[in-house]
């Protein structure tokens, strides 16, 4: 979404779903994983909206949807691409929107070659590195960007899109996804019939889309649909990215990721010797990113305070440089390979929640030290005495040198702070009770850890310790445990001017060191010296948009790109879908929400030559973060695996690619090593050993890797055991019985699960043969009131190349009846099952 629209966040808010005329939930089991927000889907349905759920399994979301469409896990781009083709073939696009608000008319470099030309590759692919050079994907005559507003030019984006998706026909959807043509057309027509000036449709997705080797492009395909149908920036439209935890959105905004700084500023690289180098490499001339220098200087002032001056380049040299991939999975391999000494684990249970759990646990055993902060002694903390690898004999407690520090963490009721939820909404929570015993907040831990490190380095004159000494590490301490005041941290994030007054928003940020701001997109959350995130005006005392509840980034906007809710002249597209419009009399944008547009820029504004920043955008260019102010149907830069989405098979798939000779994403991130084997794919020797498609998911009753639910009686009792879901047909094929046991086998591991035989997981016909899918909830581990094998142990590391996310929503496996063997015999079973292993016939 970041590359298509400009910001990597949900474009709408859950309450707005009630305004939709059609809602497509795909890659998400919203009713189960977001039951509270799902009330707005039910509200939309009450008002007459059609709710469609596209998912391999019939879930609690499907149960209340108007239509459930089962498809093969890992085939969503074919399905969504089919909808793109349906729109273009039948002229169902919202023409005025597409011509004015997207890059459909833009003409692309003549050197660009499509997957249609290169059998599944785009131009610029280097097979030796497995990467693309995107030079040929650029706009023609970079800068001038000629357009054909009739959309007829053969190299305009609109025509490229048409050609690219021309083979994504209903017949192909049926062959690849297992969705009958009639059902596919129902979805396509429902979307088209409910889009246009008078109507809007929304998409909801979650990690069912992201956790694939081509996951980012799943979301891109939906983004293309929503631009073509004119559903962006409008009430009842948009794409709702449903995040998996209470503050996952927050943890990318103020990131726990290795490659970005707060507010999605890129991490400096070694070649960025100075701030000027950095800004030159990353800032754009136009749009909101033109002010990147002000954002970063203000961030450096927040980090380093008075120590950051113009003379020392605002301490820019004090920021770490990234030299390569330091993402989660690379770090795991570094542990295994003895390249990493220590590990801090906060709010995560990777021994259960990460793919190839065995590899993770073997890595933990190779550390010098590890700190785990959690509510319970989760599997990540206890691996040294009860990991499954102890039982198999691969690890012995007395041989493990890792010093484990388990520190009890405070819950949200025991501390002040904010959550940033799925819709970019910051909501403050007040501490209700003091944490007991040694329980402390994460803020307490981070602050005092920093304080002690600084004290230890106080006498150091080593230049590498300089940035730590320079940090502005002075927060008022409150409460009996000396917690840094969360309120003061939020103020720092909001930013202050030279006099220490809170800023009203990021427009006030300066690059001369006069402002300080911990995260530019959060600037305004403490506007006027008021904690805006703490606002809780009840719904019945304000408009339906509820602007007085919490605070949403950026600038308290609830629907992003809402300039697009008005036509190019600034009038609402229709009375029914009016949201933000131009008030000519007042000379300002007005409406139900904070305009996501310069407040007084008229619709007819033409940028003068040489204009920069937002002034370089026309008055009808709604996507303010983009360099050209347009929604990008075609993405010339920002994605490493192609400017347009193409269907690739999952890394592990029993099927060839019906569309291209290129089977899987050519840029997917793989780690070819003995401890991370892959199951053989289609046309490879031994593919029949792992004939079924497996996919992981969550249940309402549990929370992710179980740390917050398996240890809680009232939740644990509701789903007390690990299970797998299989169809009656697969049960018959493999001799499984409802309530009995099954062992699921991959090249990584073998796990056991109780069996639920259900019509809700239907076999599908793909490429003329039947495929069975196996559903695996991933909540269980060896500890808690209820325990069980971990589904993630079955999966290997095969990652999306853009965001390094693991493919756990589609891989292959085998299933046999009965419980798995105990002890070392588990590894024997896994090894014996591999192709090439001595013995036995291929399973049917």
């Amino acid at each position: 979404m970041g590359t298509t629209f400009g910001r990597g966040g949900a474009t709408t808010f859950q309450q707005d779903l009630a305004n939709a005329d059609v809602i497509v939930i795909q890659g998400s089991n919203m009713a189960e994983c977001h039951p509270v927000g799902f009330q707005w889907v039910m509200e939309a349905q009450r008002r007459g909206a059609k709710v469609i759920h596209v998912d391999p399994r019939f879930t609690r979301t499907s149960a209340v949807a108007d239509l459930h469409v089962p498809l093969r896990a890992g085939s969503d781009i074919a399905f969504l691409g089919g909808i793109v083709n349906h729109i273009l073939t039948n002229g169902r696009e919202f023409r005025d929107y597409v011509v004015n608000y997207t890059n459909a008319p833009v003409i692309i470099d003549e050197r660009f070659e499509d997957t249609e030309d290169l059998d599944g590759l785009f131009s610029g692919f280097d097979p030796t590195t497995g990467t693309y050079d995107n030079e040929s994907w650029q706009y023609q005559d970079q800068g001038a960007a000629p357009q054909d507003r009739t959309l007829q030019h053969p190299r305009c984006v609109f025509q490229l899109l048409r050609r690219h998706f021309a083979r994504y026909t209903p017949e192909l959807v049926e062959e690849l996804c297992g969705v009958p043509r009639s059902q596919f057309l129902k979805v396509a027509d429902a979307l088209c019939d409910n889009s246009g000036p008078e109507r809007t449709g929304a998409f909801c997705y979650a990690v069912g889309w992201t956790q694939h080797t081509v996951g980012v492009q799943y979301i891109r395909t939906a983004a293309i649909i929503q631009l073509l149908l004119g559903n962006m920036g409008r009430p009842g439209g948009g794409i709702l990215a449903l995040r998996g935890h209470a503050s996952i959105q927050g943890s990318t905004d103020i990131p726990t990721l290795f490659n970005i700084l707060p507010g999605y500023l890129p991490m400096p690289r070694p070649e960025h010797a100075t701030l000027d180098d950095y800004v030159r490499a990353n800032a754009s001339q136009s749009g909101s990113w033109a002010d990147m220098r002000a954002y970063l200087v203000s961030l450096l002032k927040a980090y380093f305070g008075d120590a950051a001056t113009a003379d020392n380049d605002w301490c820019f040299g004090g920021l770490p440089r990234i030299t390569g991939d330091h993402s989660t999975y690379q770090s795991v391999l570094d542990m295994v390979d003895n390249r990493l000494d220590g590990f801090l684990v906060l709010g995560e249970n990777p021994a259960v929640g990460s793919a190839n759990g065995r590899l993770h646990r073997l890595g933990l055993a190779n550390l010098d030290w590890m700190v785990v902060r959690d509510f319970q002694e989760i599997e990540t903390a206890s691996f040294w005495h009860d990991a499954p690898e102890i039982a198999t004999g691969e690890l012995r407690t007395e041989d493990i040198g890792t010093e484990v520090f388990f520190l009890p963490a405070a819950t949200h009721t025991e501390k002040d702070g904010t959550f940033t939820n799925t819709q970019r909404l910051l909501q403050w929570h007040d501490q209700a009770v003091e944490p007991r015993h040694d329980v402390r907040s994460d803020l307490w831990f981070a602050y005092h850890l920093g304080r002690i490190i600084r004290e230890k380095l106080a006498d150091s004159d080593d230049p590498r310790d300089r940035p730590i000494a320079d940090l502005a590490w002075d927060y008022p301490l409150v409460g009996p445990h000396g917690d840094p005041a969360a309120d003061a941290v939020l103020r720092e994030i909001n930013g202050t001017d030279a006099d220490g007054r809170p800023l009203s928003g990021y427009a006030e940020l300066a690059d001369d060191g006069s402002t300080s701001c911990g995260c530019w997109i959060y600037s305004g959350c403490y506007a006027g010296g008021v904690n805006q995130t703490r606002r809780r005006t009840p719904g019945d005392q304000q408009s339906w948009v509820a602007p007085e509840w919490g605070w949403a980034w950026p600038m308290d906007r609830r629907i992003l790109y809402n300039r697009a809710s008005a036509d190019p002249q600034g009038n609402a597209w229709s009375e029914r879908k009016a949201y933000v419009w131009w008030d000519a009399e007042a000379g300002a944008w007005t409406g139900a929400d904070v305009p996501d547009f310069p407040a007084d820029k008229p619709p007819g504004y033409e940028p003068p030559p040489g204009a920069t920043g937002l002034a370089a955008h026309r008055g009808d260019a709604p996507f303010v973060m983009q360099a050209d102010g347009l929604g990008w149907l075609f993405v010339p830069s920002g994605l490493v695996d192609g400017p347009l989405p193409a269907h690739y098979e999952p890394h592990e798939s029993p099927f060839v690619n019906s569309l291209y000779g290129q089977r899987a994403n050519p840029t997917r991130q793989l780690f070819h090593r003995a401890d991370n084997p892959s199951n053989p794919g289609a046309a490879e020797h031994g593919v029949a050993r792992y004939p079924f498609v497996m996919t992981t998911y969550r249940l309402t009753e549990h929370h992710t890797a179980g740390g917050m639910s398996r240890f809680v009686g009232h939740l644990a009792e509701l789903q007390p055991e690990m299970f797998c879901e299989v169809s009656p047909q697969l049960a018959e094929l493999r001799g499984l019985t409802n309530g009995g046991w099954a062992t699921i086998i991959s090249t990584r591991s073998a796990i056991e699960a109780r069996v639920l035989v259900t019509d809700r997981v239907a076999p599908l016909r793909i490429q003329g043969r039947t495929v069975h899918q196996v559903g695996l909830p991933y909540h269980w581990g060896s500890r808690g009131l209820v325990s069980g094998d971990s589904a993630n142990d079955l999966f290997g590391l095969a990652l999306d190349p853009n965001v390094h996310i693991q493919e756990v929503k589609a891989a292959t496996c085998d299933v046999v009846p009965g419980r798995r063997p105990q002890g070392a015999a588990v590894r024997d079973l896994v090894d014996r099952h591999r192709p090439g292993a001595a013995a036995e016939e291929e399973p049917s």
Partner: protein, 261 residues
Amino acid sequence: MSQVTGFDPGTRVGFFTDTSVCIGCKACEVACKEWNGIDETLTDLTAKSYDNTTDLGADAWRHVAFIEQRVAPAGEVRWLMSSDVCKHCTHAACLDVCPTGSLFRTEFDTVVVQADICNGCGYCVPACPYGVIDRRESDGRAWKCTMCYDRLVDGMAPACAQSCPTDSIMFGDLAELRQRAGARLEELVDAGVPGAQLYGADPNDGVGGTGAMFLLLDDPEVYGLPPDPVVTTRNLAAMWRAAGAAAVGLVGLIAAGAWRR
């Protein structure tokens, strides 16, 4: 999430559970146990769809039923979910048979057991035509939904209704809820939803109508609800006669057993 600001004593309050919007999240089960301080019961997986609670009982005052079906004509999958609860009958047999007065009718016209009076005789258990009330193994006393009596007196909605994210469980003035239930049924029938029907909304049924009504999408027995519940005390005299006859029979059986030995 039902907003309630208090009811005058004398108003009959109740539940209307619209199962057509239930998403089976079990928030009602959890909220009920949290509020009422009921311990968890850890069991093995039942393998009955997603239902591991299985029934109402002394330690489960809300129970979400999950029913997987294939429906004609195309054999499409349907997954019914319904949160069951004590019916708070107009004519409540449990209350009729309670010898201690532990069970009583509140000022809100609900039926509540007073744990400190209950002597654990268990008469109420077979008396309930729905199989709701149950004795707890650990303390021998009878337990069931109180409709959160302690919340009602403070003007709050019962915990289950408060926690229901989709307003499947609605709480309020029973007369008003009956109207709402009728209107919702009409909506669904007009929309062609097969099997939609109200349960417990008829004041002329065998228990005089219930304080907890349901909008079901199939026949009651599909959800494990008796199709035609009758207050068991209606035929009390006849039952005693039957019991007397049974006792005679039992003596005969014992005699027969002794003779064989």
